[in-house]
Symmetry: none
Subunit: 192 residues, 4 copies
DNA sequence: CATGAATGAGGGTTCATTCAT
DNA sequence: AATGAATGAACCCTCATTCAT
């Protein structure tokens, strides 16, 4: 008697996740090209061939991981989706962003290593660019409302700062005083 | 008449440079793993085998390139080496940093893509950490002198911001308003 | 009420046929090595695993298909089985042969692609050789009776011609004037 | 001191031929898909990787072999290239064709196995089609000149017969009375 | 009878490195 | 100093077959 479709679906989803977890860990530490399918399979406790039952290529695997991480990011951002940022929401955004970086350090390590790669990932990046542009637009509008002199420059600086902090935190996990910087950035770029 | 040892050394050095130039170009565009020794050799106009007369491995080649780029960076920084930063020197530092990024975009592309890689490059990074820590110390001292409330947080923010801006400029060369941001950062983090 | 053994056998036979039909289609279009068990199973509307309930291997499957096609061929040939060929029967044979090629083009495509393969299929070919030798013997006897000068050479030429025509028709389906050639061959090799 | 370019060229050509010889043997016996690069390399006495120094892919290898064989074929055909076939030239053509088949049996085995394959080889076949069409045109003109009733049908029959004979000779090397058939075909299709 | 997850060997291909010349 | 032929390990991926359910 075969398993029910529900059973198969459950197996598939669990195994896919299991593979993605193993792959994320390895991609983040060794880089995309530095990680082989063999390593991922071994780390996930499955055979090499089985990988391709769940992901049709190495590229689909990494894409799938990236999408999942980006989904987490967007879920936490602009929660009421009214397209306007208040000062409280700004602070909430900063704190949530750092929370995400803190809790999904490995994912963001992968993210930063991936964005340095070549055309293969330009499609992926195109998708994310929309999301990130949206964030930028909200920020510019916010700074305008608060009467900041050059809202665009301020928004770009703020965005770059978030990137830079994330990058340094990721590279220097133990030493980086993320909490302190979190407060400072809200004070300096919040413009309450 | 045979060449003197000095002449040999000079020829050697020139050839090494020629190889490094070709390799940097390719590494930055195709990534480290995406660039083969064959391609580098062809681009440098020499044979594959000869590569190994000048660099003992692909890894030594990339390490050597990184070192050279970092040397350029340090040469331009803190020119009088008196260990103290004035407000003018701060501005000078920012402007020179951006100048370097603007003029050596390819190198910094390689730099950012390399720092996301694995333990092989941890040695390289250890070396650079000293240089970067030195910069950080000067900055903290500078902010203390200027009476900034939390000098360390300010210095870290400034450093992260420089990284974030460089990263975004590299990724988005055409659209990024580097000049504008350059002025804004001096105004906001100069504390004259 | 449980099914009788006969019912089971019939269901089994139908399913086998269903698989063979799907497989023939794919083998002929993609080649033997170019067709995977997965594709066959999907095309037959069953699971991969079930395939092995009906055929013990990919090889048995293709062998079985070949046998079936050859059976069709022999059924149409020498209908009264008296071991003698009249002029009318010769013509009948030619017309029926071409009819078979026309109606089972796909099978003959598979046939010609398979006979070029390696020793695995030598067994299969041994079986067919008997059938084809039988045909040859009848033809030689026929040409002798008609007073042809070199009956063996004539028979071999005729057999080779039939092969060559089939091959070219298969490869060049649309352009090949099979009808015209059919008449011509009867005129030229019939020896009425 | 490096080898001279001439030396390298000689090495390359010899090795390429060595690989092609090994590959032809294997392709003919095991089929294209049934032959692995590993097997070819082993049979040629080189490493797998070296294959790709001489042929950029398995496909280029087989294409190169096919071209070489077809070149032999065309060299022997229509030697004075005046575009007209005399009765002597017709006989010469038949005899030379069989000579080629006799002497390059393996190649023609590959040829027949290849023409049954899928789209990958359609390009290759397109090239050959021109050559073969040319032959056909000459034949039709020849039969017209000789006053044959249906020249096209005759030419197609002759061409198909040549194919069929080659095929059967290849498959049944030892038993096939090629000499006898050679004479018979000239008598029957020569129309002197 | 029926499923598709799972395996493992092998497919073609690439590439850093070595070596004879 | 210089060449490119040669190696061998590893790469991503496919697939006939087996197996737990």
């Amino acid at each position: 008697m075969p398993r029910t479709p529900e059973q198969f679906k459950k197996i598939r989803e669990e195994k896919r996740q299991q593979i993605k977890d193993a792959a994320l860990e390895l991609f983040a530490h060794e880089g995309y090209h530095g990680t082989s399918i063999s390593e991922i399979a071994k780390s996930a406790g499955i055979s090499k061939g089985l990988m391709y039952n769940y992901f049709e290529s190495k590229e689909e695997l990494v894409t799938s991981i990236m999408d999942e991480g980006m989904k987490i990011f967007t879920e936490f951002f602009d929660p009421d989706k009214d397209g306007v940022l208040t000062a409280d929401e700004f602070e909430f955004f900063v704190r949530k962003s750092f929370e995400t970086v803190r809790e999904n350090t490995i994912y963001w390590k992968l993210y930063f290593s991936i964005i340095m790669q070549k055309e293969v990932f330009e499609l992926v990046m195109a998708k994310y660019k929309n999301i990130l542009d949206e964030v930028m637009n909200l920020l510019v509008a916010y700074y305008e409302k608060q009467g900041v002199e050059d809202p665009l420059a301020e928004a770009i600086m703020f965005g770059s700062l978030m990137d830079g902090i994330s990058l340094n935190y990721i590279l220097n996990n133990d030493m980086f005083p993320l909490d302190k910087v979190e407060d400072a950035i809200i004070k300096k770029f919040g413009h309450r």
